[in-house]
Symmetry: C2
């Protein structure tokens, strides 16, 4: 998605340790116009799929998913993160490790919001090692629902998440895939549009 | 807002301890169509105000604020919650106590996303003791920005938040004000529309 790549080049800040900060337009501060363009693009990419619900994860996935959902005319469920599990039998959970925060979390979704046979689109802002998306997929599968695809705004193509999930046969659509980036020169190389 | 009150009556679940669960349409699972109606209503209420930016707080405020922002054509900044403070000088912070989680948090916003003179509308899903909204207002003031109003989806009118903030001269607009509720009979009384 050219508009997104341009914006990342213009306003993204590359930090040591392969950290890409896009908090001036994607998370923390959100450019709602850009999010609408992102919504249109996901709709174009997943136009052939029947989608019943969008699943994302707090916190930075929520705003994106809410805007994207307008183009699919479906509700959004956002998974919660918790360092502790309260296994009361009414929750679907999966463990994940956050790349950004170097922490273990449980991803939690109330059972009553994911049903067997429902067609789910996963939406998130970033994919690095793919743990968050994988956790969401495990939750969808444990509900007996169908993973129709994973829509990611920015994928770090030099980390394993996208490869791992695509090799499982999942459809991953990333609007910008970062091939490499250089904190010293503030330069970024995107994978060619496919 | 009649549509919202009807929805709360229909799908809200009242729990002991004055807890109102609206997680099937407002948080956890979000009815995006309802959120759009909420956006239109806040725009109607604050039509006379110049708004430059919407400020909310993670996690459940984010989806609502993102949809509402479309009607004001402004970006959204969401404050983060943290139990620890990293005072690196680039952050605006204020302490809050969560009614739901009985915890102390720091609310955090990067300084570069709130500027002196900007006109800010605060949006959040719930108001009980008003701590979250008050924390956001403190952050706005410490940035030298203007609090143009506080838009709340559901206010618990039997708790002090709304009164406290209105007495400070702040404009608080709540789309549904719960006057009382009864867990045993699952009945809810709203304050008359004003």
């Amino acid at each position: 998605m050219e508009l997104l790549k341009e914006r990342i080049r213009k306003d993204g800040v590359i930090k040591e340790g392969n950290v890409l900060k896009v908090d001036s337009f994607l998370n923390h501060q959100m450019d709602i116009k850009l999010l609408n363009e992102i919504g249109k693009e996901f709709k174009r990419l997943f136009a052939g799929e029947k989608i019943d619900k969008i699943l994302t994860i707090e916190a930075s996935g929520i705003g994106i998913a809410a805007i994207v959902a307008q183009y699919f005319d479906v509700p959004v469920v956002f998974a919660k993160k918790s360092e502790s599990i309260n296994l009361d039998g009414e929750m679907l959970t999966a463990p994940i490790t956050s790349f950004t925060h170097k922490k273990e979390y449980q991803v939690i979704v109330a059972k009553r919001f994911l049903h067997a046979g429902e067609n789910i689109l996963v939406i998130d802002d970033f994919m690095a090692n793919g743990c968050a998306a994988e956790g969401l997929c495990k939750i969808i599968q444990s509900a007996g629902a169908n993973i129709k695809g994973i829509g990611i705004v920015i994928e770090k193509g030099f980390q394993d998440g996208g490869k791992m999930l695509r090799e499982k046969g999942l459809r991953v659509e990333s609007l910008a895939i970062v091939e490499s980036m250089d904190a010293e020169n503030q330069t970024i190389v995107f994978r060619d549009d496919t």
